[in-house]
Symmetry: C3
Amino acid sequence: MKRDLLGLKGMSAEEIKNILDTAKTMKMVVSQPNKKTQHLQGRTVVNLFYENSTRTRLSFELAAKYMSANAANITASGSSVQKGESLIDTAQTINMMGTDILVMRHSMSGAPGVIAPLISASVINAGDGMNEHPTQALLDMLTMYEKLGSFENFKGLKVAIIGDVYHSRVVRSNIYGLRALGAEVAVAGPATLMPPQIEKMGVAAYTDVREAVRDADIVMGLRIQLERQKKGLFPSVREYHKYFGIDEEKLKLAKPGALLMHPGPVNRGVELSSSVIDGPQSVINEQVKSGVAVRMAVMYLLSRGGFNR
Amino acid sequence: MKRDLLGLKGMSAEEIKNILDTAKTMKMVVSQPNKKTQHLQGRTVVNLFYENSTRTRLSFELAAKYMSANAANITASGSSVQKGESLIDTAQTINMMGTDILVMRHSMSGAPGVIAPLISASVINAGDGMNEHPTQALLDMLTMYEKLGSFENFKGLKVAIIGDVYHSRVVRSNIYGLRALGAEVAVAGPATLMPPQIEKMGVAAYTDVREAVRDADIVMGLRIQLERQKKGLFPSVREYHKYFGIDEEKLKLAKPGALLMHPGPVNRGVELSSSVIDGPQSVINEQVKSGVAVRMAVMYLLSRGGFNR
Amino acid sequence: MKRDLLGLKGMSAEEIKNILDTAKTMKMVVSQPNKKTQHLQGRTVVNLFYENSTRTRLSFELAAKYMSANAANITASGSSVQKGESLIDTAQTINMMGTDILVMRHSMSGAPGVIAPLISASVINAGDGMNEHPTQALLDMLTMYEKLGSFENFKGLKVAIIGDVYHSRVVRSNIYGLRALGAEVAVAGPATLMPPQIEKMGVAAYTDVREAVRDADIVMGLRIQLERQKKGLFPSVREYHKYFGIDEEKLKLAKPGALLMHPGPVNRGVELSSSVIDGPQSVINEQVKSGVAVRMAVMYLLSRGGFNR
């Protein structure tokens, strides 16, 4: 039975810990001059991206290449998608070419979950609409794990996630994953960008950023799509930054040494001030490195049959 | 003397058989976990695509990577084509970079044939205008060959090809290849989409699909460009499907167990009904797998000097 | 201390000679059937191109692959650039993924020089605005070196560079490099496309092409952007060719056997007549091959710490 990574919803703490421990080892590979292992020797990884992305696509591509996989990319523009082929037919076609792992980003929530049972390749969700972005949450957790030193320290960890919670697949995956490890999650953002009944996911929800950030161990900003402003969802970039942007003053409300995170790319001066992005508490660059390691770990474990130890 | 694959026109049965036998072996590679051989170790394959294509480009790219070639892609958008460089100069430039095999798709019939004598790299035609698409026909034939068991069984095989015959490079390559192996080809489609004097290619031509399909061993649908409807070449998608689309009822006219094929991507409910696409006679997915194998075989044989045994 | 290749300005003759001697060896690799060495085994090369380019991107990509690097491409369209991320943040992100060499093309003069001190990867300038394009000049010099036989013969070598000098980063890099090796450079072009005070760079400047070409050992045409015509910078393509295009008659003014060069892609019949492009003095195709070799040499030397012997 092949396994997929569609989301962190329902994933056990043991599985997450196995991924993170494997990723910790993989991270050493990313740091060494010779970034080439035999973990996926001759396996085929295809990145199928229906939404633009530099960082995520490149991260998966390099992760695959570092493990000696055959890696290839398909992006929506220039693909037969434009010829009206159904997503299922596209996926089945890619599958038949010897693909072992299909990495998929799609604007439709649930798209990877529709595809996964229909093909023999393992499907990795690289972001589906407003649903999940599991490898992003895993790389966030790996970055925390390396600072915390042990999984024990996730218990009671206070994580504040700030911004456009409503549209964020990153926040959803983080809530599932962090809660599985015993962390406490608080979210905050403009009332227009908060999902109704978000508390039912087991998180504390605030419209005042200060309340969410107070005494947090981790402060995570979420990317805001500037296009949403036009739809009246927030008043202006300046006002957004004033009330919801994380700057030095707001960051001081968190615990001393609290980590500042962001999935990137950051709109400087909007979600985060430049001073905190480039400040000592920022681990934003480290997150990027964790991303390659986590994707290596996920692909390797999938090629071995799954996430159980 | 280097060899090219510009089309199946004029290719001998022996050469085709050699490609198909080689491809049969290559297909095992596509099925195994470690899809990496040394057949093209250090050779360079460049895909130069002036028309969009996911499946064909990906198929060639993976075929090259499976054999350890250096593989790179150029697509028309983003290329120096936009800077007004001539096709010949572009091809010569790519050639000088150490390219051994240039895979080329172009909207102009005959373009690969213009380029081939001017460069040292072997040229593979991946579709040129309304002329030929030889690897597509070869993968169709490989899929048939695997079901038929021997080349002997191509003799008298009845192949019905249905749809936009006029614009199809797939049909032309199939006619050349299948007739070389001794098969009989019948074509059918709307009168507006049938080339005049197609019978001169040695095929039977019908405007009634039923007549072409009756007692066929193979029923192949051709992709219809929906844009052509605007030009008045066929009345409506619904009417097209009613008269020319292959559904369960029309497929029953063929021999029991006749194979259903399509080069993909399919417009579901237009050229083929979903019931036959997903039905037991469909080998459409198998064709995709055959495609990688055929391209491996063609590239390998070209790197060895040609298609003769 | 990591090294970068931002330009040839300030580079010593010894460094240039080391690159060219290394490239001469690398060129043998480009010519052999098995184009695969271990020089960059497991190193990571990312091409970040904010301007369209087939030849330069492909040349770097193949150079990296020929040396067994992990190679990946990012082009502006389809990148997070469109999401408004700053160039610096993009570069830092790519850097954190294990990148050893970042090859960068940007429309802004000086962009690679801004990035280089901020990241651990070596930066190679693949063309920045109107500033420099060092690997192009190095490949021009390698092509000359192979014909000249020794570095001694660069002393007093007369190089005439013709065309849109004002906008050309190629000419600037060539002036720095050629003068370091002891050559004499003359430039010529329409008065509207000549930078004021170009003589301060140590070159002779003419508005009459004939004067520049007379007795030259090397005649190099520069690409003209046809869009510039609309801005009134030159009268018409036909007139441009008449006065500034290099044809057989003008080429005869140079020394017998003078080499004809062009960075490509050529607008045939504009900068150069087809007769000289395809004539016996043209080394335009050889330049392309030199390009791959020079890029291999530069990347290899950077991975070893720099250009000193």
